[in-house]
Symmetry: C2
Subunit: 328 residues, 2 copies
């Protein structure tokens, strides 16, 4: 299915673009991270033309300790994965810990870092968030730093606003590289694209549902949970949007592909499952015939047997639209 | 003002009760924690008959790193503060980090720990939260563990429900010692008191506004931000409620004291200040004539000069009702 138009081999000055998977974090029976399954999964994602955005929401990053996060990134790089295809999540509530994780990623030569706003306090001011990110940029103090601001108000409640981006871009034009918008509101994404995309500010949408719209409006791609199970098909739409496909990329064809992606995503975002994360892990468990993949850390819960059966049935009926999973 | 009815000298089997201050964390100019000012402030709070609940919301605990938290607790104990008067906050999003901080507190012999639910994911299930706290209890694996569940839905969104408490109490009757309810909803607190207070489940209210009501209904006291600046007056009401005061503690007298406390609290919770935390720190800066005390870590911001002046004026007019601050 995949066209294999690689997005790797970027020169260090080039920005990461395309489809990035917030790589799921597999756990062992004792809930420790499963390094081998993690690396295998990441390698498979790369083979499907996906970049990696490990330690995101879908990765259960905030359920990991700081040490687990640094150790998994070390393992990924040690396994030979090109850091220029990795954008790890490094945002914590504490500036100190965000600076530590970000410095670690920059030292590995990662393409960038995806940084949540501090999410414990609510009703914080724009000034407070500006100072938070300023402290992070100054604390890391490395010209290679590329920050992608992570706007996900359904989970953080705290929002990345256009005025905050404007101030940060003015103060740190090299360090502030873009954002991931998981607001779920296309009008919100469009506002950022209209205001900043011509300034070299790269907007990734947090769901492939908005990928076509994003690419039509100067966006950089998508960082989407579903890329963990459907990477090639999502990449295919990206490739056609940027004219890298040998296929006819007329508008109606693109819209048809977008519609197919949406159908698959809807399976995983169904409220019949306790969370999309648990459903994605269950899908890998099913396709790879590897039940251990279904584990999640509390407070998340895995699918019940009945829910897992329902998911298997639904996936089977959607198989025409979905990447065949070939986890090694 | 204070009656000096000490709540210290508890036998190890006795539970901590009374008025606990979620001790503010002072910062130096470079935003590093100021250990000396922290210890001085904690000592002053103890001298006012307050127990300590450091590393709470008011302490900006989630803006600290794990290492900063353990190092400050080490310093407090090394300074000779009785661990039986300390209930540190240890709840993080990650089970691993919550277990680490909790184990550290238990090894110090602290009276208990105040544990937030994991607060990154929203819409989590009761089952997921039950497993989270189960993992914490089992991960710490120490018979001395006393967990106080921290319900603060305005910040966590995630709630501690009566059904969750019921399940946890049944599974871990020794480890689950009580809760702090910062829901701001007396009916919610009352539900927990009615259901569990006769089972040795100690309910602290998260604001002294509800202290009289809590004590009339079998509660254990309050863990309140304002105790950082008004400890003796809050303790006075507690002491009178439990019959430890030599003063007349008729109902109308108690209600009068409660009303006085409420007036002081309203000064600090005014929306004219960016946050109650910043206002409390500014109050100490004013009374101790120590401007460095006003620092907060981003995303919080300190009061502007105009806001600081307004606070000084308001405090002056409320002085009759408030503990005189005597920070050494």
């Amino acid at each position: 299915m995949s066209e294999n138009f690689a997005i790797d081999g970027l020169a260090p000055t080039q920005r990461i673009r395309g489809v990035l998977a917030p790589a799921l974090t597999p756990f062992k029976a004792d809930l420790a991270p499963d390094r081998e399954r993690f690396i295998s999964h990441c390698r498979w994602l790369l083979s499907q033309n996906c970049g990696l955005a490990p330690f995101g929401t879908t990765s259960e990053a905030n359920s990991l300790s700081k040490d687990e996060r640094t150790s998994l990134l070390d393992a990924l790089v040690a396994a030979g994965v090109d850091p220029l295809r990795i954008m790890p999540g490094t945002g914590c509530c504490s500036i100190i810990e965000t600076v530590d994780l970000t410095t670690h990623a920059v030292k590995h030569g990662c393409a960038g870092v995806l940084v949540l706003p501090p999410f414990y306090y609510k009703d914080v001011t724009e000034e407070g968030l500006y100072r938070y990110f300023s402290e992070v940029v100054q604390g890391v103090g490395d010209a290679r730093l590329r920050i992608y601001l992570y706007n996900i108000p359904p989970l953080t409640i705290v929002r990345i606003t256009p005025r905050l981006v404007e101030r940060l871009l003015r103060a740190y034009p090299n360090a502030i590289a873009g954002m991931k918008d998981s607001s779920g509101d296309w009008n919100n994404t469009k506002t950022f694209l209209d205001m900043f995309s011509t300034d070299g500010f790269d907007v990734f949408v947090g769901s492939e549902t908005f990928l076509l719209a994003n690419m039509r409006n100067g966006g950089a791609g998508t960082i989407s949970a579903t890329a963990n199970v459907n990477p090639a098909a999502i990449y295919q739409l990206f490739a056609e949007c940027v004219g890298q496909s040998k296929f006819n990329n007329g508008e109606s064809k693109l819209e048809h592909r977008q519609a197919q992606l949406n159908v698959v995503r809807e399976v995983f975002s169904s409220t019949r499952f306790p969370s999309m994360i648990a459903a994605l892990k269950q899908a890998i468990a099913i396709y790879a015939n590897d039940p251990e993949w279904s584990s999640v850390r509390p407070p998340l819960v895995k699918l019940t047997t009945a829910q897992a059966k329902l998911l298997a049935t639904e996936l089977n009926s959607q198989r025409f639209a979905m990447t065949e999973l070939r986890i090694n």
